[in-house]
């Protein structure tokens, strides 16, 4: 997008499709979906400082499985987490997207 929010109706179609297909593919209700999302954010936040705005869950259907892709931009490793001696210091505005994939 060059200039901010788009008013193209196809973008609305895309986001609405994304919403219904996630429900259709996973069989989760809307409430379960947002619950799952909140819990995932909490778990990741235990170990990393993340950019919650950029947090995104996607469902990709492959030949015989659906793959869950969780994209969570990590701003910095949380100090003292996972028993590590020191957190790697990354510039706070430098966002490294890291993706976690798992089959469901």
């Amino acid at each position: 997008m060059l200039f901010g929010e788009s008013n193209e109706s196809k973008d609305l179609a895309k986001s609405r499709l994304h919403f219904v297909l996630v429900q259709d593919r996973t069989g989760l209700t809307n409430e379960e979906m947002s619950g799952f999302r909140e819990e995932m954010v909490k778990v990741i936040e235990k170990y990393f400082v993340i950019d919650k705005e950029g947090f995104d869950i996607k469902y990709h259907r492959l030949a015989d499985t659906t793959t869950l892709l969780i994209n969570s931009p990590v701003i910095v490793r949380r100090a003292g987490s996972m028993g590590s001696s020191s957190a790697r210091s990354t510039a706070a505005n430098e966002i490294d997207p890291s993706a976690v994939a798992s089959n469901i």
Binding site: L2, E8, K10, R16
Partner: protein
């Protein structure tokens, strides 16, 4: 018909059965079956199109063969007639045949095993068997998929059609049937304006191989009025698209035309609000 082998030009001994399905009704399954069948026949392939929409048959009228029906798929399945008695040669091609649906039965009058039996009767006679599935995901759909080697899922670039297509792709996948996508009735002008999902958008959402893209074309209606597949109209963009799709089905590498937003200059002027 002799039952030894399929005609000249075929490399395989046994034809390929392809189900044409969509979930949602009215997206162009029957038109696709007829037009792709005609396009494959024009390439010299022997093609049988089967109407699996029992009770709501329409492939016969799209092909202009409605007044020649004697027997139908149910008669073949129940062994009321010989398989060769039920198929009807198209008016335009010696390579294209129709096995009509019964108009007076319910969808569950035959089961999946009987559909497999029907396919077996014809697989050695034809290079391609295209099965026109009814809308929905119930028994009629399951029958149409029985014995299919692969699937063509037809959708339009609309939310409802894409959602149903996704559901059908999932069901096909659980049956081990690989699906390829045809995007029907795309309007590249609307795509350019941002008011219609593009080919790439649809592919990103559904995540399956695209077999073809068909532009919205008035000639499809004209062809249906006349009972002649649009493939025979060389000026029709839809007809040309089906010809390209037939080439891809036969394994040729033919690029998919797409229009994903136009030139960079168009995009910039559009964002600035000074575009057309």
């Amino acid at each position: 018909m002799n039952s030894k082998n399929i005609g000249t030009g075929g490399k395989k001994d046994v034809g390929e059965a392809i189900v044409v399905t969509s979930g949602k009704g009215g997206v162009g399954k029957t038109t696709t079956t007829a037009s792709l069948g005609a396009a494959l026949a024009l390439r010299g392939q022997r093609v049988l199109v089967i109407d699996a929409d029992i009770g709501l048959r329409n492939l016969d009228v799209i092909l202009g063969l409605e007044n020649r029906i004697v027997f139908n798929i149910v008669d073949v399945a129940k062994k009321i007639c010989k398989p060769s008695q039920a198929i009807i040669k198209s008016k335009k091609s010696n390579n294209l045949y129709l096995l009509p649906a019964s108009q007076t039965d319910d969808k569950d009058v035959i089961d999946e095993a009987e559909v497999r039996f029907v396919l077996e009767q014809f697989k050695r006679e034809f290079h391609y068997i295209l099965i026109d599935s009814p809308a929905g995901i119930e028994q009629g759909f399951r029958n149409a998929c029985a014995g299919a080697d692969s699937a063509i899922v037809v959708t339009t670039p609309e939310v409802s059609a894409i959602r149903d297509a996704d559901r059908v792709v999932g069901l096909l996948s659980s049956k081990g049937i690989e699906a390829r996508l045809i995007i029907n009735r795309i309007d590249f002008e609307m795509v350019r304006r941002g008011d219609m999902l593009s080919v790439k958008d649809v592919q990103d959402i559904l995540g399956i191989e695209i077999l073809g893209v068909i532009e919205r074309d008035e000639q499809i209606i004209v062809a249906a009025n006349c009972g002649e597949p649009v493939t025979y109209n060389p000026k029709s963009k839809a007809g040309q698209a089906f010809t390209r799709i037939a080439g891809r089905v036969c394994g040729e590498q033919i690029a998919i035309p797409s229009f994903d937003g136009g030139s960079i200059w168009n995009r910039i002027t559009k964002r600035l609000g000074v575009g057309q």
